[in-house]
Symmetry: none
Subunit: 414 residues, 2 copies
């Protein structure tokens, strides 16, 4: 079964923004056995919208229309679908009441333009949106003699994703023939994409019935395995077999065999061992702490730490002696170790992490170039320090440094 995803919004036709929702929707559709044949990105002009929707209906059976459901003048998706499909659009009094209630609960004034979010296409099922004001709509209709499934979903990812999972996927599953798809996601840290591929290609190419995709992003490698069979157990057995072969080959580079993030794995290891962690960050400026605290429940093993951007704070919060800094420089093996051990003692945790480096683009020298980062982990008995030279821009260097810091903790806990 073929589908088309339409992303609506003039901003998506600018040089600055890009539709990313379609990647999520594609993944979900593929899992249901639906191929995405076209993606169309279209702006807010009524004529263009109608044209895009008509094209999609003429060439695919499932059409997912994302965005343009809000209250502004630019939000014209409902009107465009009505015109393209020649169906009526009626304001739903119950939805209006819900909009008023929602606004009142947030102490916001319900302006008139908000009411258009209550317009419903004839024959549509309303898809509830607890996370936003604009409800979605589901149409299962005959159009040009063919059955078409049309979904209108909101553009903000925080609204679209749960709505698609909770409202669209179950409805699609009911309508579609049953398929069995097994997937596995493996993750590895700090190995290059081509290096990883050179090692595992001889393995996965033997599994012609498993689709293997390698994604690389800022020191993180993700391997997606997907197999489709008439019987679920067969599909599962094949992806599991390939997964173990890859895990054997990449060994401890693999940090996750079920798709967890590196921060999740670190927190999991900490919790299992009843250990706690603190960090003292210079060049990463809070990124390690931010990544760990992005995980709900992180407070059980991560207590916090310090962002010690200035030399004074390295002393104030991690007891790094000023003479040590003077002697070796703030970016040095010695200061990294002192940060790790100092923050560990001050925060009274099992492990302490220290990061110091030159994120650039300025501040580098011949001796200590941009990208030079020292990372340390200490448990009071053993203080380990690694030196890395990352390439790329400030953002890339900081990401690689935070990734390396987390991986250092993971390896210590293994």
């Amino acid at each position: 079964m073929n589908s088309e995803i339409i992303a609506i919004g003039s901003e998506l036709l600018s040089p600055y923004r890009q539709d990313t929702n379609s990647l999520f929707v594609t993944e979900r559709l593929n899992q249901l056995g639906i191929t995405v044949a076209f993606k169309t990105i279209v702006g807010d002009r009524p004529k263009h919208l109608v044209d895009a929707i008509r094209s999609a209906l003429s060439r695919t059976d499932v059409v997912v229309i994302m965005g343009g459901l809000g209250p502004t003048e630019d939000d014209l998706t409902r009107e465009a679908v009505a015109e393209a499909m020649q169906v009526g659009l009626k304001r739903d009094p119950e939805l209006i009441a819900q909009l008023y209630a929602r606004m009142a609960a947030r102490r916001l004034t319900m302006t008139r333009n908000n009411e258009k979010q209550a317009d419903v296409l004839d024959g549509a099922i309303i898809l509830v949106n607890p996370r936003g004001s604009a409800p979605g709509q589901w149409l299962d209709v005959v159009y040009g003699k063919h059955r078409k499934l049309v979904m209108l979903v909101p553009g903000p990812p925080s609204e679209l994703k749960p709505m698609f999972d909770e409202e669209c996927v179950p409805r699609l599953r009911e309508v579609l023939p049953r398929r069995h798809i097994a997937t596995r996601v493996l993750k590895a840290a700090l190995i290059g994409e081509s290096a990883a591929d050179a090692r595992i290609a001889p393995i996965y190419t033997q599994f012609t019935d498993v689709e293997t995709t390698i994604l690389a992003h800022l020191g993180d490698i993700q391997l997606n395995l997907l197999c489709s069979k008439p019987i679920l157990e067969l599909a599962q057995a094949r992806v599991d077999e390939l997964a173990s072969r890859i895990e054997e080959e990449l060994d401890d580079l693999i940090y996750s065999s079920q798709g967890e993030s590196l921060e999740q794995i670190v927190l999991l290891h900490l919790e299992m061992q009843g250990a706690t962690l603190s960090v003292a960050e210079s060049c990463t400026g809070g990124m390690v702490a931010e990544r760990l605290t992005s995980i709900s429940g992180s407070s059980r093993s991560f207590v916090g730490g310090a962002v010690v951007y200035s030399n004074e704070l390295k002393t104030e919060f991690a007891d790094v002696s000023p003479t040590l800094i003077e002697r070796h420089g703030a970016v040095s093996r010695e200061v990294a170790a002192a940060l790790a051990e100092g923050i560990r003692v001050r925060c009274d945790t099992t492990l302490g992490v220290g990061v110091t480096g030159i994120a650039g683009p300025s501040g580098g020298s011949d001796e200590k170039p941009v990208g030079l980062v020292y990372l340390s982990v200490s448990d009071g008995k053993k203080t380990e320090v690694v030196e890395r030279r990352f390439s790329g821009d400030r953002d890339r260097i900081r990401h690689y440094a935070s990734q390396t810091a987390l991986d250092l903790v993971r390896r210590r806990l293994m």
Copy 2:
């Protein structure tokens, strides 16, 4: 003048890969005064390709087709354009000779399938590709009674970008009426998209010659203004006039009138006033520090601070008294204020910021629900605290909290 960009390749319809070439092409087209009205992503199936090309020709004047020019069986762009436009396709002997020479120079065998790269559409101008084997093609033809400009360019960015700049842009410039484009980017913090639109729509709708786009993302609003005129000064005057009218209306909600980020603006204000800043973060877990340190040169006014996730660290690093925490709770107006003033004193900075709240999804209560955040800024004389109730998931709550913290500093410095 309207255009459509077609990106060809089945991998661009997977959940893992995305067309990014179109952002580059869009920027170049916009600079020439050509609007991108549609982007279509389509796979390698002949029927789909022909359909996508026909749709594009029926609705736009300029069509840029990217990819599918290589030697493999999946490279079907030339054939699809020929069929969609009903023009002939002939193998060019001179191009074949060039392909043989190219292969020989690289000591590669010229296989038969390589020859299809020498197929040229009737009436097309060949666009040379010194960086790859597949040449591009340029068509300036009448199709369905209208003049159409159609460009076939290769998919690899390293081939596409120089070819577009060297071969397509000069030809487009010759063909197009001379236009000049002026742009402005305004940014506002912590106003909803619909609230902002309700206030400024009455203004920008009067400027029918300026294209206004509103982008909203996690408490950040970006207004893109674009005007195209035969004379640059006229275009600039119009966007500037609209920009000042919007700035008047939104007043101090606007934090940037030239596109800078909120963290850049905060650092700019700090530096201009010779002030320094430190932060004590609980629920944002380092996000405020991370955002500030993402900017190169931030160390001139941002010294660092502490991530005080546990109660003990609130005392250890920001001198918040344990009895204050016990009496009011860690998430309270009083603790936020104590964090701001405590970290300011400990870091010896002009301003201190404190953030404490419940990011969820767990940890909330009736009295202190998920999303409740207290934010404080102190300069030693005056300690200001604000209470906010953010909705959404953990990620959204943390982003809004960090945005509010930065905006609080900006307002204090104004």
